[in-house]
C-alpha cells in the first residue's frame, strides 16, 4: 500500500514535473508523502507480505521515521527546481524498501535506490559541496560493493539470501562483517564515518537533515535485520570507536553542522547498543527522539543560514526569535539525554539493552562519553542565549514545525509509555 502510493506518486510526478509550477509540485510531493504516512498509520500493526517485500513491525517503525524526515526536508527547503522534491520522493521510496525486506539482493537494490538520489542532492549547491559529494559518492559505491560481496559470501555460507539466517564458520563471520561495513557506512558508524563531517558541512542543510534522519533510520532497519540478535564481536569495536571518535572530535568543532555530524556518529554508536538484543522498541524509540531532536537542530540551523553556521553566528538567536532559540536549546538537551526530555528515555532504553546482554564495558564507555558530550551540546544550546547578532528570518511554517517537534520531545520525556506499546505492537 505504502509502496504503491510512493511509487505511483514518484512516477507520476516525474512526468508532471515538466508541466506544473514548482510550488504546486512541492504541494503534490507533500501530498504523496502524507498519503504514504496515512496509509502507514492506518495499517499499523498489520503485517503484509508480497514475495520478498514484507511490511512488518521493523518496516513500519523505520518507514515512519524516514517519512517524517522526508516531509520535514521537503517542508524546509527553498528551491526553485522541482527535481529536489522528486529526488527526495525517490529516496523515501528506497528507504521504505530497504526497511521492508529480508532479502539481501533486494536490500542492495533499495540501498542504491536511496543512495543515488542522495548523491545528487548532496551536490545541490555546486562549489564547495562538490568535493564532499564526490567523497560521498566514491565511498558510498565502495560500501555498496562491500555489501554485495557480503551478500555473495552469505549465500555461500548459509545457502540463503535471507538476512538473519543462522550460520557459523569463518565464511559466515566474514559475510556478516562485510554486510556490516556496507550498512555501517550509511549510518555513519566509525571507522566508516570519514565522509560525514565533510558532507554535512558542505551539503545544503535540509539535505543534511534528510541524511541524518531518514537515511539513518532506514539503514538501521537493515542493520537490525542483518546483525541481530547474536551480533558479531566486531560490533563492540565499532560502537566503542563511534562513541569515542564522535564525542571527542565534536568537542573541537566551531561550526554547528560539523558538530552535529560528529554528534550523529556518536549517536549511531549509542543506537547500535540495541542491536545486541535486536529490541525494536528500544532502537525505535531512540531513533524517534533522535530524529526529532537532530531534525529540530538542523531545521533551526537552516532558518539561520542554508550554508555554514559557525557557533558564533547562533549567539543572540534567542533574543532575535525566542521560539527558534528555545527549540535549539531543547534539541541540544535532548541529544545530550538530559531528563525530562525524550532523549533521556532513548538512552535509558538502549543502555538497558546493553546491560541485559552484559556489555558492561561498553555501557561504562557510553556513559562516560555522554558526560563528555555535555560540553559541546551545552556550548551549542547555550550559545543562543548569549549576546550576539544572530540573523534569522524564519517562515511561519518552519516555526510551527519547530514548536511541534520541541513539544513532542517534552511530551516523550514525560510520557514515554504512551508511544512504546505502539512501537512494540509493530514488532
Amino acid at each position: 500500500m505504502i509502496l504503491l502510493v510512493l511509487s505511483s506518486f514518484a512516477v507520476a510526478l516525474t512526468l508532471l514535473g515538466f508541466f506544473v509550477s514548482v510550488p504546486l509540485f512541492k504541494r503534490l510531493t507533500i501530498l504523496g508523502l502524507s498519503l504514504a504516512l496515512l496509509s502507514l498509520l492506518f495499517t499499523w500493526g498489520k503485517p503484509f507480505a508480497f514475495g520478498p517485500y514484507q511490511v512488518d513491525g521493523i518496516s513500519q517503525v523505520f518507514t515512519l521515521l524516514a517519512l517524517l524526515g522526508a516531509l520535514w526536508t521537503v517542508g524546509l527547503v527553498r528551491t526553485r527546481r522541482f527535481e529536489f522534491y522528486l529526488l527526495v520522493l525517490y529516496a523515501a521510496l528506497g528507504m521504505h524498501l530497504l526497511a521492508s525486506t529480508k532479502n539481501l539482493i533486494l536490500m542492495l537494490v533499495a540501498l542504491e535506490a536511496l543512495s543515488l538520489p542522495l548523491y545528487a542532492l548532496a551536490t545541490w549547491r555546486r562549489g564547495e559541496g562538490l568535493e564532499a559529494a564526490l567523497k560521498y559518492f566514491l565511498l558510498g559505491a565502495l560500501a555498496a560493493a562491500f555489501f554485495l560481496y557480503g551478500t555473495a559470501l552469505h549465500y555461500g555460507a548459509t545457502g540463503s539470501l535471507l538476512a538473519g539466517t543462522p550460520g557459523e564458520g569463518p565464511l559466515y563471520a566474514l559475510a556478516l562483517g562485510l554486510l556490516m561495513v556496507g550498512l555501517g557506512f550509511k549510518v555513519a558508524l566509525a571507522p566508516f564515518h570519514f565522509w560525514t563531517p565533510d558532507v554535512y558541512q558542505g551539503s545544503p542543510t535540509p539535505v543534511v537533515l534528510f541524511m541524518a534522519t531518514g537515511v539513518k533510520a532506514a539503514a538501521f532497519a537493515a542493520l537490525l535485520r542483518v546483525v541481530s540478535p547474536g551480533a558479531p564481536e566486531a560490533l563492540s569495536l565499532l560502537i566503542a570507536l563511534s562513541v569515542l571518535i564522535g564525542n571527542l572530535a565534536a568537542l573541537a568543532q566551531k561550526e554547528a553542522k560539523r558538530l552535529l555530524a560528529y554528534s550523529s556518529i556518536a549517536h549511531a554508536g549509542y543506537m547500535a547498543l540495541a542491536l545486541y538484543t535486536g529490541n525494536l522498541q528500544a532502537l525505535g524509540f531512540y531513533l524517534l527522539t533522535y530524529v526529532l531532536a537532530t531534525g529540530l537542530a538542523f531545521a533551526v540551523l537552516s532558518e539561520v543560514s542554508p550554508d555554514r553556521v559557525p557557533l558564533d553566528h547562533l549567539k543572540g538567536l534567542f533574543h532575535r526569535d525566542p521560539l527558534l532559540g528555545l527549540a535549539l536549546f531543547v534539541a541540544a538537551l535532548s541529544l545530550l539525554g538530559l531528563p525530562p526530555l525524550g532523549g533521556f528515555w532513548g538512552k535509558y532504553l538502549v543502555f538497558t539493552e546493553a546491560a541485559r546482554v552484559g556489555q558492561w564495558g561498553l555501557l561504562v564507555l557510553a556513559l562516560l562519553t555522554s558526560v563528555v558530550s555535555a560540553y559541546y551540546y551545552l556550548a551549542l544550546g547555550l550559545s543562543v542565549f548569549q549576546k550576539g547578532e544572530a540573523v534569522a528570518a524564519p517562515r511561519p511554517l518552519a516555526r510551527g514545525i519547530a514548536l511541534l517537534a520541541a513539544l513532542a520531545l517534552l511530551f516523550l520525556g514525560f510520557l514515554p509509555g504512551i508511544v512504546l506499546p505502539a512501537l512494540a505492537q509493530g514488532g
Binding site: 531528563p339 532504553l349 543502555f351 514515554p416
Partner: protein, 469 residues
Amino acid sequence: MVVLAILLPILFGLLLLLGLPRALGVLGAGLSLLLNLYLFLTHPGGVAHGVQAPLLPGAGVYWAFGLDGLSALFFLTIGLSVLLGALVAKVEGRFLGLALLMSGLLLGLFAARDLLVFYLFFEAALIPALLMLFFYGGEGRIRAIYTLLLFTLAGSLPMLAAILAVKALGGSPTFLLEDLLAHPVGGNAAFWVFLGFALAFAVKTPLFPVHAWLPLFHQENHPSGLADALGTLYKVGVFAFFRFAIPLAPEGFAELQGLLLFLAAISALYGAWVAFSAKDFKTLLAYAGVSHMGVAALGVFSGTPEGALGGLYLLAASGVYTGGLFLLAGRLYERLHTLEIGRFRGLAESAPGLSALALFLFLAMVGLPGLSGFPGELMTLLGAYKASPWLTALAFLSVIAGAAYALTAFQKVFWEGGQRGTEDLKGAEWPFAFLAVAALVLMGVFPGFFVKGLEPLAEAFAKILGGGA
C-alpha cells in the same frame, strides 16, 4: 495532594517565566509553603498520600510519589526557604520563576518513590540551576556552569548505570522503592553498584574532594542569594545516601564505610579551614556548607539511628539557615554593593535589626543550643562517636572552628570599628526576619516535633545495616 504540592510551584514558575509579575511568585511561594505545612502537620506517619501511575510499565517505571516523615520535613524546609527568598530577593519575575520551577522539581525529588523518577527529578533540577547561573550569574559564570554540569553528570551517569544494575542484578520487577528494597544487591556487584551511587551523591553532598563545583557556583551566582538558597537545597547527597544508596546496596556500603567516614570528617575540617580564611561572604558560606554537610554525612555514614537522624535534621536545618545567610548576604550587597567581608564595618550601629537577624542566623549555623543547628549536630556527633571516635573528634574540631569563622565574620561586619552607615530592615525584610527567626527557634527548641516522623525511618535504616554499630 503530593502531586498538587509538586505542581503548584512548577505552575507558578512557568507563569512567571511567561512574564507575569513578580508578586504572583511571592503568592505562589506562600501558597506552596502553606500546602507543605498542611501536609507536614497532618502527616499520619508511614508513607502517606501515595500515588502511582504507569510511566514505562513495561520497564517497571512508575510515576510514584509518597510522603514519609522525611519527605514531609523537607517539604516544609523547601517551602520555607523559597518563600524567604521570594520575599526579599529583589530579582525580576523570570528569575523567581526559575527558582519556583526548581523548588517544584526538588519537591518531586524528595517525594519520589521510584528510583528512576528520583533520577529524573535529580537531573531535571539541574536545568533551572544552570539557567539561573547563565542568565543572572557574574563574569566567570560560563566556567562555573561547565564545572557544575560536568561534576554533576560525571556523578549521575555512573549512577544511571548503577540504577540499571540494581534492578537487573537484584531481580526486582520494578523500580519502585518498595520492590527494590525487597531485592537488595549482594555480593561483589554490590560494591560497584554502591560506588556508582556514591559518586553521584558525593558530588551533591558535597564531599571532599568532589566539592570543587560549589564555591564557583556560589561565587558566580546572582548577588541576591536566591539562586544560592536554591543551590543549598539542591545539596541532596546526604538525603540520597540515606534513602537510596545505602539501603539498596548495604554490602557495598559496608566495604566503603571507612573511606566515606574519613572523607566526611575531612570535608568537615577542610571546609571549616577554608571558610576561616575566606575573603568574601559567599565563599565563606560555600565552605561553611561543605563543612556542615561533612558533619551531616558523618552521621549518616555512621549507620547508627542517632547519627542518621541527626545528619538528616542538620541537612534540613541548614537548608533554612544557610539559605537565609545567602539571602542576607544579598541584602548587604544591595545596600553596600560588595560582598567582601573586610569592606563592611560596624553595621550594627545603624542597622540593629539587620544585625540581630544576622546574629540569629550565624548562631544557628554555629550550633548554639536553642537554635536549629544544635540538635542535628549533637545527635550526629553522638551517633558518629559510636562508629568512629577518632574521626568524630576530628569532625568536632570543625564545630569549634565553625564558631571561630562565623563569629569572626559577624564581628567584623557588624561590630568592629570604622562605622559604616546603612539602612535597617525595611519592607518585606521584616516578615523575612520574623519567619526566619521563628523557624530557627522552633526547630531548635522543639526538635522532637520535627523528627517524630524520622525516627522509625532511622531505626529501619540502622536495622538494614545490622542493628546499628
